[in-house]
C-alpha cells in the first residue's frame, strides 16, 4: 500500500536497539544483544500491521521503540511527516540502503558524499519529525496518541489501584476535565469494552484474564489514541475468550479508525487480524507483504518453514512439513551474513558471507533473501530465479493449507 491514500502515522527507518552485555572482571562492555537491528516500516491510519516471529526475535522491542518506551541505539521513527517529506525520506533511505545493509559494521562500504548529504538531510528532517528528537514535555501530547496493550493481563494492572483509578490516571496525567468528568469518562470506557460501571469499584485481582485484557484496552483508549501497539494481546488467554478480545479490537478499530501494530507469535491470529504482515527473525525483518499474499505465497524460507510448522486443527489434513534444524541462535552473537543461514533448508554458500538486501520482489512484497537477487520484476514475469530450488518446500509450506481449505 505504498501508494495508499490513507496518511502515514509513523515512518520507522533503520531502527536499531542494542542491549549491552556487561561482564568480566570490571563488568566491562563485552558486546551487544542485537534485539532490533535495522527495522524499517510504516504505520498508516486505520490499518493493522502484523508483526510475527519466534520469541527473542525482537518483536516486543520494536513495539516499545515505536512508543519511545525505550530509546533506540540508532534510527528514527517520524511522526506524521507530510506526504512530500515522506517521499523524500524514502528516496533518501534508498540512496542509503547499500551503506546501512548489515548493521554489523563489517560489510558496509565507506560512505560516499551523496550518502553523507543524504544523512545530513535526514538529520534535518528528524529534528522536525522524529520521536526520539523530542524533549520529554514535547513528547507528552504524543503519549496520548500512541498507546499500548500488554501481553500479560496480570502484571499490566497495578494490584493496589481500583479499576476506576487505573482508567482515570491517563486523563489525570493529561489534566483532562474535572474529577467528576473523568469518572464519567471512565464509565463510558468500561461500557465501550463491554464491562459494566459496577466493575469500576473493584481491584484487578477480582477479574478473569479476558476481563483484565479488556480493562487494558480501555486504558489504552482513555486518551483517544490513533495508534495502539498490541503486544501479544491474546496469547495469555484461552481460545474461547481470545475471540472475544479480537472481535472487540476489530469493532473498536472500525468505530474509531485506529491503527494497530499487532505483535504475535501466533500466525493464524495475525492472519485473522492484520492487513500487512512483517516477519522478523533475529532482530531483522526478513519479509513483508499484504496478509493474503504472504500466507499464500511466502517467499522467504523462514516464512515458509514458519507457516508449515503451524499445526492445523484438522486430523485429515496430512502435510509434510519443513523441519528447521536446531534453535534460534543467540542475538548476542548473530550468524554472519544472512542470519537464517544456520537453519535454512535452502542455504547457499553466499548466505554465510553476505547479508541479503531487503528488496521488493513482487508488488508490495519485500524479502531479504539471496534466493531473490533482483528487485521488482516487470509485470507478469514469473517469480525470479532461485525460487525453483525451494519450490517444493514452498508448495509444501504454503499451498497445502489452501488445498485443504478448498
Amino acid at each position: 500500500m505504498k501508494d495508499g491514500t490513507s496518511a502515514t502515522i509513523l515512518v520507522a527507518r533503520n531502527l536499531r536497539k542494542y542491549f549491552p552485555i556487561r561482564g568480566g572482571l570490571l563488568s566491562s562492555h563485552l558486546g551487544d544483544v542485537r534485539a532490533v537491528d535495522g527495522v524499517s516500516f510504516d504505520i498508516r491510519e486505520g490499518e493493522t500491521v502484523g508483526l510475527v516471529g519466534e520469541s527473542g526475535c525482537g518483536k516486543t522491542t520494536v513495539g516499545r521503540l515505536l512508543l519511545r518506551l525505550i530509546e533506540p541505539t540508532s534510527g528514527h521513527s517520524f511522526y506524521r511527516p507530510p506526504p512530500e517529506t515522506e517521499a523524500r525520506l524514502n528516496t533518501l533511505y534508498d540512496t542509503l540502503r547499500p551503506f546501512t545493509g548489515g548493521g554489523d559494521g563489517g560489510t558496509e562500504p565507506p560512505l560516499t558524499d551523496e550518502a553523507r548529504r543524504a544523512l545530513e538531510e535526514i538529520d534535518a528532517i528528524a529534528d522536525q519529525y522524529s520521536l526520539y528528537r523530542r524533549s520529554q514535555r514535547k513528547m507528552r501530547p504524543l503519549r496520548g496518541k500512541l498507546q499500548i496493550v500488554f501481553q500479560d493481563p496480570f502484571s499490566s494492572l497495578s494490584p493496589r489501584q481500583l479499576i476506576r483509578d487505573i482508567l482515570t490516571e491517563p486523563l489525570a496525567i493529561h489534566h483532562v476535565g474535572s474529577r467528576s468528568e473523568r469518572y464519567r469518562r471512565a464509565e463510558e470506557l468500561v461500557k465501550d469494552v463491554g464491562l459494566n460501571p459496577d466493575h469500576l469499584w473493584r481491584f484487578p485481582h477480582e477479574f478473569s484474564g479476558g476481563q483484565r485484557q479488556r480493562i487494558g484496552v480501555a486504558r489504552a483508549l482513555a486518551l483517544a489514541p490513533e495508534f495502539i501497539v498490541l503486544d501479544e494481546p491474546t496469547s495469555a488467554l484461552d481460545v474461547s475468550v481470545q475471540a472475544q478480545v479480537l472481535n472487540l479490537l476489530r469493532v473498536l478499530q472500525a468505530e474509531r479508525g485506529l491503527a494497530y501494530l499487532f505483535i504475535s507469535h501466533h500466525l493464524s491470529v495475525v492472519r485473522a487480524m492484520s492487513n500487512r504482515v512483517l516477519v522478523m527473525y533475529l532482530g531483522k525483518v526478513v519479509e513483508e507483504a499484504r496478509t493474503d499474499e504472504l500466507f499464500t505465497r511466502p517467499l522467504h524460507p523462514y516464512t515458509q518453514a514458519l507457516l508449515s510448522a503451524i499445526p492445523i486443527p484438522d486430523p485429515e489434513l496430512k502435510r509434510e512439513r519443513i523441519l528447521l534444524k536446531g534453535d534460534v541462535p543467540s542475538p548476542a552473537a548473530p550468524p554472519s551474513g544472512c542470519r537464517f543461514h544456520t537453519r535454512c533448508p535452502a542455504v547457499m554458500p553466499v548466505c554465510s558471507k553476505v547479508d541479503p538486501p531487503y528488496l521488493q520482489v513482487r508488488p508490495d512484497h519485500f524479502v531479504a533473501c539471496h534466493l531473490y537477487p533482483e528487485g521488482i520484476p516487470p509485470k507478469g514475469a514469473t517469480i525470479p530465479a532461485g525460487d525453483g530450488q525451494i519450490a517444493s518446500a514452498g508448495m509444501a509450506g504454503a499451498e497445502a493449507p489452501l488445498v485443504a481449505s478448498h
Binding site: L69, L146, D152, P159, I173, G194, H199, W201, F203, R219
Partner: protein
C-alpha cells in the same frame, strides 16, 4: 456483538455479593485482617501489644512520683539504717526478715558499686505497692534514687514504645527514600548509594551504635538525660536506615519492571508520579513488616547498650522520667551477675524477680511483635493467600 457484552457468567465469576461496596479499600483491609485472624500466634501477639499500649497510655496518666518514694529504709524489728544514706548493714549472706533492706558489698567502685540485694521471701503484696517495696531498684551507685520496679515497669512502657517507634520510623523514612531513589534512577546513583549501604551494613549494628554514642557523648550538649535519649535515637537511626534502604531498593527493582509501570510511562506519567503512585505503594509492604519486627527488637538493643555500660537512663527520678524496659532489665541484671560471680555458692539469694519481670515484659513485647509481623507477612503475601 455478543462478545462485547457482560454476560451473567462473567458476573457470577467476578461479583462477590452484588451492589456497590461502600469502600473497596476498606474491603481490602478487611480481607487482609480476615487472613490475619486465622493465625493464632499473630492474634495473640496483637492482643499482647494492645495490652502493652494500654499500659503505656495508663502510665502517662499517673502522677509523677516524688523523691520521697525513693527514701525509705528499715521497718521495725530491723537493724536501724544510718540516716540519710539508706544503707542497712548486714553480715553478708544473711537473709533479711523484712522486705526493704539494702546492703552494699565492702569493696567499692566498679560493678560492685551497685547494691546487691538480700531478699526476703517473695510476696506479691510487697511487690505491688508499699513505700519501698520488694524488688526496688537503684539506678545509680550513689543510692539516692530508688524506685519501685512496678512503677518502673509501668512508667517505662511508654518510653520503650516512644523510643523504638521513633527510631524505626525515622530510619524507615530515610531508608525508603534512599532505596526508592537508588532503585528508580539506577546507574551511578544506585551504585554509589548501594556501596554506602554496604559499608554501613558491614559494621555490626550494636558496635556501630556504641562507637557513635561513645563519640557523640563527649561532645558538649549531650549531658542531660533528654539529650542522651536523643543521642540514643540518633545513633540507632544512623545505623538502622541501610537495612530499609536495601529492602526497598530490592523491591523497587522488581516493581519497576512491572508492565503497569511501563503503561503509566506510556501514558506520559513523570518520574515523580511513577514513584509515588506506582512504585512505592507496591513495594512498601516488606518494609512495613521489617518495621514491625524492629519495633520489637530496638528495646533489646537499648538494653544491651545499657548492659555494656552506657548510662542512657535517668538518674533523677523526680523528673518523672523512668528508664524504659531495656534499661531496667539491664540495670537489674548487672548487680545480679556481680553477685553471682562474687558470692559463695549456696549462700547468696539471687533476687531473680529483679530482672525477671522487666525481662519478661521485654521478651513478651518482642515476641508478640514477631508473631504479629510474621502473621502480617503471611496475610499480605499473595502467594500464601491463593
Amino acid at each position: 456483538m455478543e462478545s462485547t457484552g457482560t454476560t451473567p457468567a462473567e458476573e457470577s465469576t467476578t461479583t462477590k455479593g452484588r451492589g456497590r461496596r461502600p469502600n473497596p479499600h476498606v474491603a481490602q483491609f478487611l480481607r487482609t485482617f480476615y487472613y490475619l485472624r486465622r493465625n493464632g500466634l499473630a492474634m495473640f501477639g496483637l492482643a499482647v501489644i494492645l495490652i502493652l499500649v494500654g499500659i503505656a497510655l495508663y502510665a502517662l496518666t499517673l502522677p509523677i512520683p516524688t523523691q520521697s518514694l525513693a527514701f525509705y529504709c528499715g521497718t521495725n524489728n530491723q537493724p536501724s539504717c544510718v540516716p540519710g544514706t539508706q544503707i542497712c548493714t548486714y553480715p553478708q549472706g544473711v537473709v533479711a526478715p523484712g522486705p526493704n533492706c539494702y546492703q552494699t558489698p565492702v569493696s567499692g567502685g566498679g560493678v560492685s558499686s551497685y547494691p546487691s540485694i538480700i531478699a526476703p521471701t517473695f510476696d506479691l503484696a510487697h511487690f505491688s505497692g508499699g513505700p519501698l517495696p520488694l524488688g526496688s531498684l537503684t539506678v545509680d551507685p550513689s543510692h539516692n534514687a530508688f524506685f519501685n520496679l512496678y512503677d518502673g515497669l509501668l512508667r517505662g512502657s511508654d518510653w520503650s514504645l516512644i523510643i523504638s517507634i521513633s527510631i524505626v520510623l525515622s530510619g524507615a523514612a530515610i531508608g525508603a527514600i534512599v532505596g526508592a531513589v537508588a532503585g528508580t534512577f539506577g546507574g551511578l546513583i544506585d551504585e554509589v548509594l548501594m556501596r554506602l549501604v554496604d559499608i554501613f551494613l558491614s559494621i555490626p549494628a550494636i558496635l556501630f551504635v556504641i562507637v557513635i554514642i561513645a563519640v557523640l557523648q563527649v561532645l558538649p550538649g549531650f549531658t542531660s538525660f533528654d539529650a542522651r535519649i536523643g543521642l540514643l535515637v540518633i545513633g540507632f537511626v544512623l545505623v538502622w536506615w541501610p537495612f530499609y534502604a536495601r529492602i526497598v531498593r530490592g523491591q523497587v527493582l522488581v516493581v519497576r519492571e512491572q508492565k503497569y509501570v511501563e503503561a503509566a510511562r506510556a501514558c506520559g506519567a513523570g518520574k515523580g508520579r511513577i514513584i509515588m503512585r506506582h512504585i512505592l505503594p507496591n513495594s512498601v509492604y516488606p518494609v512495613f513488616i521489617q518495621v514491625s519486627l524492629d519495633v520489637g527488637t530496638i528495646p533489646l538493643f537499648v538494653g544491651t547498650l545499657v548492659f555494656l555500660g552506657f548510662a542512657v537512663i535517668p538518674t533523677t527520678i523526680g523528673s518523672g522520667i523512668f528508664p524504659e524496659w531495656g534499661s531496667i532489665t539491664a540495670t537489674s541484671v548487672i548487680p545480679l551477675i556481680s553477685l553471682l560471680t562474687t558470692c559463695q555458692f549456696g549462700q547468696c539469694i539471687v533476687p531473680w524477680w529483679q530482672f525477671f519481670f522487666p525481662g519478661f515484659a521485654l521478651f513478651m513485647f518482642a515476641i508478640s511483635v514477631n508473631f504479629l509481623s510474621d502473621g502480617l507477612r503471611d496475610a499480605l503475601d499473595p502467594r500464601l493467600r491463593r
